[in-house]
């Protein structure tokens, strides 16, 4: 495995009552290697994302991002260090337009607090227009988010995360809620934008076709543990993975 380690998880433990959501998780994330996380429901995939983005604090263990211990740091502060997140259910400002959502993100990223500059006149506007084009959503700019179908909201949610210029982006099931026929197209768009922004992505995914095509590496989660990790070609063929995770799909 070549490349710089961008995030290290060390001995992460967290449990909710009797449910072990993370148990002794040790994993290194490599810069510019997109990692897919797969595993059955309840395996602790989203918990791992919640731990890495500061939403949950582990009961034990440490998370090191870019050489700095970030264990238990609030999402708000973590974002400023370069860790962004897109959600399984898009988290957007539904009373704002698509462009306003992006501009708010850009203003937050640039720490632009000038009280009398109009949001739509901030310097990042051209950049945000470009980002929208990259996400093939340029035509949606003036629409209110509440008018968008789920698939487009997913794209905008990711665009908002990218507007923060992160180094590392966590995405929780970027293709869930999207018709199968559109999944590849959606991921194509996302992958293109990620590549241009030079962002390392970690994504939870249930569609093995998507994983095979878009991930550089796959990590298999089960019962709060990382079972396997490697290139999709190897991991997805492993008999245990086929039995426990993929089931009869292959």
């Amino acid at each position: 495995m070549s490349g710089k380690v961008i995030l290290q998880a060390r001995d992460l433990d967290i449990r909710f009552g009797g449910v072990v959501a993370a148990s002794d998780i040790n994993i290194d994330l490599i810069e510019h290697q997109n990692l897919a996380i797969i595993g059955p429901n309840g395996a602790g995939k989203t918990t791992f994302l919640n731990l890495c983005t500061g939403y949950l604090k582990p009961h034990a263990g440490r998370i090191i991002f870019n050489g700095e211990d970030i264990t238990g740091i609030a999402p708000r502060r973590l974002v400023r260090k370069g860790v962004a997140r897109a959600f399984q259910i898009p988290q957007l400002f539904t009373e704002h337009t698509v462009m306003e959502n992006l501009l708010i993100a850009a203003a937050a990223q640039a720490r632009q607090w000038a009280p009398f500059t109009r949001l739509d006149r901030i310097g990042a506007r051209a950049e945000m227009e470009h980002l929208l084009e990259l996400m093939k959503c340029g035509h949606l700019a003036t629409l209110p988010v509440s008018a968008l179908p789920e698939g487009q909201r997913k794209l905008i949610d990711i665009a908002v995360a990218l507007a923060l210029k992160p180094r590392l982006l966590f995405m929780d099931e970027p293709t869930s809620g999207v018709a199968s026929a559109e999944k590849f197209e959606l991921l194509d768009i996302i992958a293109g934008a990620l590549a241009e922004a030079r962002v390392t992505a970690v994504f939870v995914e249930h569609d093995m076709g998507i994983v095979d095509r878009f991930a550089d590496e796959v990590a298999v989660w089960n019962r709060g543990k990382v079972l396997f990790r490697g290139p999709p070609g190897d991991v997805l063929k492993h008999p245990d993975v086929i039995r426990d995770v993929i089931g009869e799909e292959l």
């Binding site: 400002f93 937050a108 607090w113």
Partner: protein, 333 residues
Amino acid sequence: MTTRAQILRVLPYALLLALALVPQVYPAAQVLLTLALAKSLAVLGVIVLLQAGQVSFGHALFFAIAAYAAAFLGNSMGGGEIVLSLVLGTVCSAAVALVVGVFIVRYRHIFFGMLNLALSMIFFSFLEKFYHVTGGSDGLSVARPRVLGMALERGPFELVLFYGTLGLVIGALVLTHRFLSSPVGQMMRAIKTNEVRLEYLGVSARNVLLAGYVLSAALCGLGGVLMSTAQGIVTPEYAWWVRSGEFVFIAILGGAGSVGGAVVGTLAYEAVKTYAAAFAADIWQMILGVVLLVVILFAPNGLIGLFRSWTRRIGSAPERTGDRAGDRVGAGE
């Protein structure tokens, strides 16, 4: 430009011009309008918080703090200076808002509203009970202050106060509108729809709400000083919950989605109140209640929203998209 855009553009100025001419055309309404305009500043404060989806049932607190601060200052200086009173009162309200706000912005919705109510009622009791300081339920009389060093007679003073208030209201509308159109102002509106995302943008929703809270308190304070100066007296009733409720009532009546709603709402409210009290003395509260019911049921965006949909209908239809953030906040949704 369509008819609708023209009407929308011209009407606010026409309204302000009409207001400015009141002392010449209909002097009997001048004092009443001064009081209404002062109140509209407090309503504007409530509207700022409504952008974030938060309703305060205790903003009379800041109205009263500023009014009492100005009264103490004026009385200790033998009348004092109005500019100084306005500045001191507003700063006092903003300072108190900054302190209690740190605690209050941790809460949302009913808790936010009730905590504000509780604080305002504590202050109300304080004003009532510490009568040797506050004058108790009789309140304090407010001596007529000098204006930029000049001691004016009653007539000229009231005229100056009217135009001064009108000028301050216009200034407050412009500044508040610009604040709400700015990134921080838009983040206030984002608190209403998705605080989680706001945090994941690296923004502290609490700090954003605190900024809005301090602004809203300052606006209430400015209104409180102007009101007490115009009335020549300040009483604990300034902090009473009914007054806080009145601010919210007017905000909804006028249209909480826009800064203009504060002025339109207050003028309509005071007009209904005055004429209903004159012609139907026994049932004027009922008339106000019915008005509010009708507004909530048929014009949820208030009078401003009603006006917008009306101009939309008579103007050419296809000018709907392209509404931008500033326009929406500015002119009601």
